[in-house]
Amino acid sequence: MSLLEIWLGILQGLGITAEVTAYGLVFAVPFALVFGVAQFLATGMTRFVVTAVIEFWRSSAVVILLFFFYYVLPVMGVTLSALTVSSLVLGLNAGGYASQAVRAGLQSLPPGQREAGMALGLSRPAILLLIELPQALVAMSPTFVNNLIQLVKATSLVSLVTLTDMTFRAKEIAQTDYDPVAIYSALLLAFFVVCYPIALAGRWLEARVNPERGTSRGI
């Protein structure tokens, strides 16, 4: 196979990579918002429970989480497709990371913002939705872009639970063609082509949101 054929063969898996990323976001975004805000607002026992849930998804190794849910859920009588399990696990793992950005963003706002809202007679939910969250989410947007890139890269793991993403396609091609240099270089290049534009967008966002911090952070 020529280099181009190998590359096109790997790109056949781009659909699954995109699908897992998209479904992963369906889990990640609500999780990050709800748990990030909950960790910010809650106190005492509730905060402990919220933190425990976040830490389970964030501090576990994502490889193990994926295998764990793939093999253990059926034993518990819950049968989900490989696509659903992968999206759920990778999404909630990414959501766990993003929830910390949501919380940190809310915590770093000056207290005057909330006090001004109270002085205007706004309710606590209104202050959160109209004043605090918009500022926190904009300030943290470069971090969310980084979380998205991590999610895209983590989708390479779904090749281990039978989904034919780009990584799986590379391994399939490697079974018929002995050309590891071309195949695995093409795989790296395929991910680079997907993730690098997102990273550049993140840098542009960073420069707009935090001009004083410079544009160097990215990815």
Partner: protein, 219 residues
């Protein structure tokens, strides 16, 4: 077949027995990634064509998944006649992947040092090497200690990737048990709990050291 607690408990000694491999892989990868990351950052800072090439390499590494790098090294090195054990390839892969991130950590650590320090070193006509070793590096180390600790935890959580290359670390042992007994749920649960405990313990330790460094810096 439900979840058998007795069987799960019986797998604990075997899986814990591999904790040494997990820890060795973590520490060696962290050292490798630090050395490589610092070297990359120094070359990037030097500028010129090599600096530009390394700048691109760092971006490339950070836009590609660690799994793809592990496959790349695992299959491409033997193609060029370089035969290394799976553990060595795994440590090389993790070192290379995280060097891209640590280069950014070192960059931020160096950027945070006031310009006057470099200017003073030049005024004293120190060589570039002496400036790095005696002026920049000691101040940088204090700046990078905290993020470096966080990456140590990240690398620990990435070591289960080595199980995919059949390295007998904790997840690898869990899979050995699973393929011998055809029971996946119990060994994977045990491995999951052990990894979570290890990650939480390590990040707690890192936080403690961070606080002590901060306290020492204030004195």
């Amino acid at each position: 077949m439900g979840f058998n607690l007795d069987f799960a408990l019986s797998t604990v000694p075997t899986i814990i027995g591999a904790i040494g491999t997990t820890l060795i892989a973590t520490v060696l990868s962290c050292v490798g990634a630090s050395v490589l990351g610092f070297t990359f950052e120094m070359i990037r800072r030097g500028g010129g064509a090599t600096g530009l090439a390394v700048r691109f390499l760092i971006d490339f590494i950070r836009s590609t998944p660690v799994l793809a790098w592990l496959y790349f090294l695992y299959f491409v090195l033997p193609f060029y006649g370089i035969r290394l054990g799976a553990m060595t390839v795994g440590i090389l892969g993790l070192s290379l992947y995280y060097s891209g991130y640590l280069a950014e950590v070192f960059k931020a650590g160096i950027d945070a040092i006031p310009r006057g320090q470099q200017e003073a070193a030049r005024a004293l006509s120190l060589t570039r090497r002496d400036t790095v070793v005696f002026v920049i590096a000691p101040q940088m180390l204090r700046n990078v200690a905290a993020p470096l600790g966080n990456y140590l935890v990240s690398i620990l959580k990435a070591t289960p990737y080595l199980a995919i290359l059949a390295v007998p670390e904790m997840l690898g042992r869990a899979f050995d048990i699973a393929s011998e007994t055809y029971r996946y749920a119990e060994p994977l649960t045990v491995a999951g709990i052990l990894f979570l405990a290890l990650a939480l313990l390590t990040s707690y330790g890192v936080k403690r050291i961070e606080q002590r460094l901060l306290a020492a810096g204030r004195r």
